[in-house]
């Protein structure tokens, strides 16, 4: 028996989400009194995982998997579970993690709980806390199947270092032709840009910015803070910013440490999307904007005056604290 964690990597390096999900899975393994095995794909040096509680890494090396492939990855995870007699599988709620988790669950006839925020309340019966209603509530769920699949919400648990080293073992799962039926035609990925899902800080703009030509100051603030840029729904609907930046109930959820909202009034659907952000700053010229009720810090005033001033001050602060 063990806990198995899928550790996501990019260009041969583990993503921060992989280390977080390993940290969490170590907590689950400890609660169950068992060991933690990771499965990694095309990652040469897996030793880093030992620092986050992984005892053993099943290292898959296969050129056919250079592009992410949900079906093949799910197949490999299933075989790893069978090899290790794992009772719990943990994945990150990244786009790829969300893609494969239900496929893994079906293959293993396992109950799957997504958006998990905390370690299990109990492991027998197996109960976990997750978000529901787009962060407007929590749901405590019991998984009744023998094998359990958990999707950990981003930034919900953080990184926790452990003592120990991870051994590495080459793992060669068997793939079928069916696994390679979907072909990748192209991948269009912004390099050197922080994504909303991974960001510690998100800077977001709304209709109050009056037009896409005014986004320079938002991007500047994001540059200074190493943040991702985001926007409200009307802004993406009007085509000022891409859909991928839309934060809210039908857009992306944000779970960053800091969320700065500029010129966003705070519709209920937007607030649902940012509930999981830890600290919220709102800059708006309307003192009655509902967003102030959800904020930790608020500044009332004209964004076109405040944001450039704030950017200068943040730059000075960053230079001093570099």
């Amino acid at each position: 028996m063990s806990v198995l964690v899928y550790t996501e990597s990019e260009d041969g390096k583990f993503k921060k989400g992989a280390l977080e999900v390993a940290s969490y899975a170590k907590g689950v393994a400890d609660a169950m009194g068992t060991s933690l095995t990771a499965i990694s794909f095309n990652t040469e040096d897996t030793s880093e995982l030992g620092k986050y509680g992984v005892d053993k890494v099943l290292s898959v090396s296969n050129d056919k998997l250079n592009n992410f492939n949900a079906s093949a990855y799910a197949d490999a995870i299933k075989q790893a579970v069978q090899k290790e007699s794992s009772k719990v599988v943990v994945l990150s709620q990244s786009a790829n993690g969300k893609y494969i988790a239900p496929l893994v669950a079906v293959q293993l006839e396992a109950g799957y709980v997504s958006n998990v925020t905390d370690l299990p309340e109990s492991t027998s019966p197996f109960q976990v806390k997750r978000t529901a209603f787009t962060n407007k509530a929590f749901k405590f769920t019991e998984i009744t199947t023998d094998i359990k699949v958990l999707g950990l919400s981003k930034n919900a648990f953080g990184l926790k270092e452990s003592e120990g080293a991870a051994s590495s073992e080459a793992f060669e799962p068997q793939f079928s032709e069916e696994d390679f039926k979907i072909q990748v035609e192209s991948v269009d990925k912004a390099k050197d840009k922080v994504t909303i899902a991974d960001a510690e800080v998100v800077v977001s703009g709304g209709r109050g910015l009056k037009g896409p030509e005014n986004w320079g100051m938002i991007e500047e603030m994001a540059d200074i803070l190493g943040a991702a840029t985001a926007c409200s729904k009307p802004v993406s609907d009007m085509g000022w910013r891409p859909h991928s930046e839309h934060v809210g109930q039908t857009g992306k959820p944000v779970a960053s440490n800091l969320y700065i909202a500029v010129g966003i009034s705070g519709a209920i659907q937007h607030l649902a999307g940012i509930n999981a952000a830890k600290t919220k700053v709102v800059i708006n010229n309307d003192p009655e904007a509902p967003f102030f009720k959800a904020a930790d810090y608020g500044v009332v005033g004209d964004a076109f005056e405040i944001v450039p001033k704030l950017n200068e001050k943040l730059k000075e602060f960053k230079e001093k604290n570099a």
Binding site: A105, F133, K139, D237, N257, I268, V281, Y297
Partner: protein
């Protein structure tokens, strides 16, 4: 092309969320229900296939009789027929199994689901349905074209997008981007009248088992009040973010 669109009946996005029966059940009192927004983008894309490529479009839902107005709305938007699997599900795996039975028997070329419903946000039904049907699956779809038995789909990935080619039958988890918000259809009077005559078949459930059960719900703890900072004193904001919140 034969298309099935899976429709979830969810509280309107502006709904206040409350619980009843000792915080064990969602309180539907005074709540307006709508087509799940992610499903609505998919339904509209299906209508495009119907209009441009002559596809037939069925919609399906797993739920009690109270979900029928939502299915009727989908018919009013233009779906040809509706299926309601008559059970109140408590788990995504159960929904996927119930859908798989009907979908498998219907020999659909394309099954469109929303990437998740906006109530329980499980995000599991599309993938589980594909897995159960052993069909190709593409999640978080933001564009979809079909020619013959070949589909080209673009999906959102962290930090970008990826375009994939898959043969039919295909299940997708769709979202905003499949069509623009401005393209969403509002049923007109003619559509509403026609919807009354379109078939809505109620089917007995297969009795699929659940894999999870809800223990209880809880609302987030109330938030402390906002600290207002004078627009002329932005140094204070930086100081608070650094020393109090410790986020910069």
């Amino acid at each position: 092309m034969k298309i099935l669109v899976c429709i979830s009946h969810v509280p309107d996005t502006t709904s206040k969320i409350n619980f009843t029966d000792g915080d064990s059940k969602f309180d539907t009192n005074g709540v307006q229900f709508v087509i799940n927004p992610n499903d609505e983008f998919g339904l509209t894309r299906a209508m495009w296939f119907k209009e441009k490529q002559g596809a037939s479009v069925d919609v399906i839902n797993v739920g009690g009789a109270e979900t029928e107005p939502t299915l009727r709305k989908a018919l009013a938007i233009g779906a040809d027929s509706a299926i309601r699997i008559d059970t109140t599900p408590t788990d995504g795996f159960q929904v996927a199994k119930e859908l798989a039975k009907v979908a498998g028997e219907g020999n659909y070329d394309l099954i469109i689901c929303g990437r998740e419903s906006i109530d329980y946000n499980g995000g599991m039904v599309p993938g589980m349905l594909a897995g159960l049907l052993k069909a190709n699956f593409i999640n978080t779809c933001i564009a979809l074209e079909v020619e013959g038995d070949k589909a080209t789909a673009t999906r959102e990935i962290d930090g970008g997008k990826e375009t994939l080619i898959a043969s039919l039958p295909l299940v997708i988890g769709g979202q905003k981007g499949l069509v623009e918000e401005s393209d969403l259809k509002i049923p007109n009077m003619r559509g509403i009248m026609q919807a009354r005559k379109k078939p809505l078949n109620v089917m007995e459930p297969a009795g699929a088992e659940t894999a999870t059960k809800a223990v209880k719900f809880e609302k987030p703890a109330p938030k402390g009040s906002v600290k207002m900072i004078d627009a002329d004193n932005l140094d204070e904001l930086i100081d608070l973010l650094h020393n109090e919140a410790k986020v910069i």
